[in-house]
């Protein structure tokens, strides 16, 4: 009996396969493509594959579980998300707390400021405790193996923020009253700051992927990244509530800063905080998981 021959998995099924975790794809994607070449595929097949990708992420099969890779991926993801949220937090502080915005008769906003400050401080401390030993281990590893590119990526975490601070201080020295020069200065500092934070966090993340270090420092960093993600998510939630409260109750705030911008800020914060929390949680679970057979 001859088998039906089909051209390939089809674009929808190929897209659906891309939704699976890398380890799953590496192990099964070729087999699934071979199956679809024989059996054919349509929208229903693609939908079935897409739906089954969710449990593959949430509860990955144990034999595909690479604890070390999972922990490193979580540390890298949380580091980038944490940098973005910390940058957003700095902008939030500048636009709200330091401008003295309060909601008369609504202590909620003030409480949110306090929670935000405390959570951000804890997350910075946790990130330092978990990140510095791993960073030092990677620097030693890169030096020992003469990996100059990885060493350069690692030093970006120090050089880029220092360069940004130096540039900002220099600019403030040259322009004595930036507030009088309009909001462009603030927007410029903010955009440059996000760029610097992105580079400073991407550097160690790339080095982490390339050097693939192991040992207790990775486990400590993964556990710390989970705590940092949770606390920074709390800070994000507090800032989101405060921003929403100011939009609702403080007309001068909403009128000055435009409600659309505040909602875009909320969406950004929630997306990044959710990414950090999910990835951090998976890293913590990998840290304390019993190794597979």
């Amino acid at each position: 009996m001859s088998r039906p021959v089909h051209a390939g998995p089809g674009p929808l099924a190929s897209l659906a396969l891309m939704l699976y975790p890398p380890a799953w794809r590496e192990r099964y994607a070729d087999e699934v493509r071979a199956l679809l070449e024989e059996a054919g595929s349509g929208p229903a097949t693609a939908a079935s594959l897409a739906v089954r990708a969710v449990p593959a992420w949430v509860n990955p099969p144990r034999h595909l579980h690479d604890r070390g890779a999972r922990m490193r991926a979580s540390v890298a993801t949380v580091l980038v998300a944490w940098s973005a949220l910390t940058g957003v937090g700095a902008v939030f502080v500048q636009l709200t707390q330091l401008q003295g915005f309060r909601a008369p008769g609504h202590p909620l906003v003030q409480w949110c400021y306090l929670i935000f400050d405390a959570a951000l401080a804890v997350s910075v401390l946790t990130a330092a405790v978990g990140g510095v030993p791993l960073w030092l281990q990677m620097v030693r590893l890169a030096r020992r193996e003469r990996r100059r590119r990885e060493l350069a990526w690692l030093w970006m975490a120090v050089v880029v923020p220092a360069g940004y601070m130096a540039a900002a201080l220099t600019a403030l020295t040259v322009v004595h009253d930036p507030e009088a020069s309009g909001s462009w200065w603030f927007a410029g500092f903010a955009v440059l700051g996000f760029g610097a934070a992105g580079l400073a966090s991407a550097g160690p993340a790339v080095a982490l992927k390339r050097l693939a270090p192991g040992g207790p420092a990775v486990a400590l960093a993964a556990a710390a990244s989970g705590v940092a993600a949770a606390t920074v998510a709390l800070a994000g939630l507090a800032s989101a509530i405060a921003a929403a409260g100011l939009c609702l109750w403080t007309t001068s705030f909403a009128g000055y800063h435009h409600a659309g911008l505040a909602w875009a800020y909320l969406l950004f914060v929630v997306t990044i905080a959710a990414t950090a929390t999910i990835s951090g949680g998976r890293g913590v679970r990998a840290t304390f998981a019993i190794p597979a057979r």
Binding site: Y28, E31, R33, L35, L36, E38, R52, L64
Partner: protein, 108 residues
């Protein structure tokens, strides 16, 4: 109304039953399950099941020259299938006996 009794068609059980006689690759499993058990497994369901069964050691992959990797049932898989089949057989026998006694049902 949906017939919820079709829950007997548990995909892991169907895959184990399909592999009970000989190793098969994905497409062969889908065809066998469809032809012998009347259940159409989709690629997404099949590979979710294969991944789970492999993770718990009930099936194992065999070496393959091409991308169509065959799977075979393991000793643990045979034991699990035998146990579940015996349980289902007892339920089937009991149901048939009672239907026969009460309604004179002589079987399908």
């Amino acid at each position: 109304m949906t017939n919820r009794l079709d829950r007997w068609a548990d995909p892991p059980l169907l895959v184990l039953a399909s592999l009970a006689d000989e190793p098969k690759h994905g497409y062969a499993i889908i065809r066998d399950v469809s032809e012998t058990m009347g259940v159409r497994l989709t690629a997404g369901t099949l590979y979710a099941v294969i991944a789970r069964l492999e993770a718990v050691g009930l099936i194992e992959p065999l070496a393959s020259a091409d991308r169509r990797r065959p799977y075979q049932i393991t000793a643990a898989g045979r034991a699990a299938l035998a146990e579940q089949s015996a349980r289902m057989g007892r339920v089937a026998s009991l149901a048939q006996a009672r239907l026969g006694e009460r309604y004179g049902w002589a079987g399908a």
